[in-house]
Amino acid sequence: EPVLSKGNNCLDAAKACNLNDTCKRFRSAYITPCTSSTSNEICNKRKCHKALRLFFDKVPPKHSYGMLFCSCRDVACTERRRQTIVPVCSYEDREKPNCLNLQESCKKNYICRSRLADFFTNCQPESRSVSGCLKENYADCLLAYSGLIGTVMTPNYIDSSSLSVAPWCDCSNSGNDEEDCKKFLNFFQDNICLKNAIQAFGNGTDVNVW
């Protein structure tokens, strides 16, 4: 029994992408390096990341977000959504580094440093606001989040049952910095602002912003 059987929003978004010349071109342009194995690696991660950044830079949000933030009711849909960024190449690695160490490597890179700062600014949660966001701007939060895709901080959905996301890292071996590490990781995994923003896009309930 194939994993993907019935139609769903993520499938509809993929269809719409391939019917649009720009989206089709930039989608293939990242699928190619992200799925081509080299002599001793699954893929050339650097090329895959670069092509993913280009995809989110050049393709209108209607199409790129459509595939990344589609709303789902079943596993077929969430699995397709999880596969959008080709995680086996762009996300997973042999080892899971400590999140604070990963943050250090991110800070050494100009693009990663600035995009991570944007993410922390624009997806700052605020439980007292109606939107759940301090900045009250879902579009800016989603732009900042998608901007991290193609950096060492590339995030993805961590399970098929929720909108929880995380970069490829954990908080083991944090020593005295365990609290800081958990705070960093929870900004991804348990962020009401980001969750609401993704949900609003997926349900089309925040149409005015796009």
Binding site: P2, V3, L4, S5, G7, L11, A14, K15, N18, L19, D21, K24, R25, R27, S28, A29, I31, T32, C34, T35, E79, R80, Q83, V86
Partner: protein
Amino acid sequence: KGRRNQKGKNRGCVLREIHLNVTDLDLGYETKEELIFRYCSGSCDAAETTYDKILKNLTKKKKLVTDKVRQACCRPIAFDDDLSFLDDNLVYHILKKHSAKRCGCV
């Protein structure tokens, strides 16, 4: 005869498109994804070059009865961008040179 006139002669050969399911291509993929397939169709009857004209004349005069010489065909002279899709088992595939971008009588 100007270039424009020459081109006009073969206006029969044009790019057409059809919206298909990837499975309609019968390439063995199982997926629900779709695509726009573009193809070349139309006639290339009017001789485009002196070469084509000579072949036509020689065929008419039955000087080439034993050889099968082909007249110009309406074919892709450039291909569309690659197409990628995710199949029902969560494997990505890429199709190259699967769809026409420009057509010509060649």
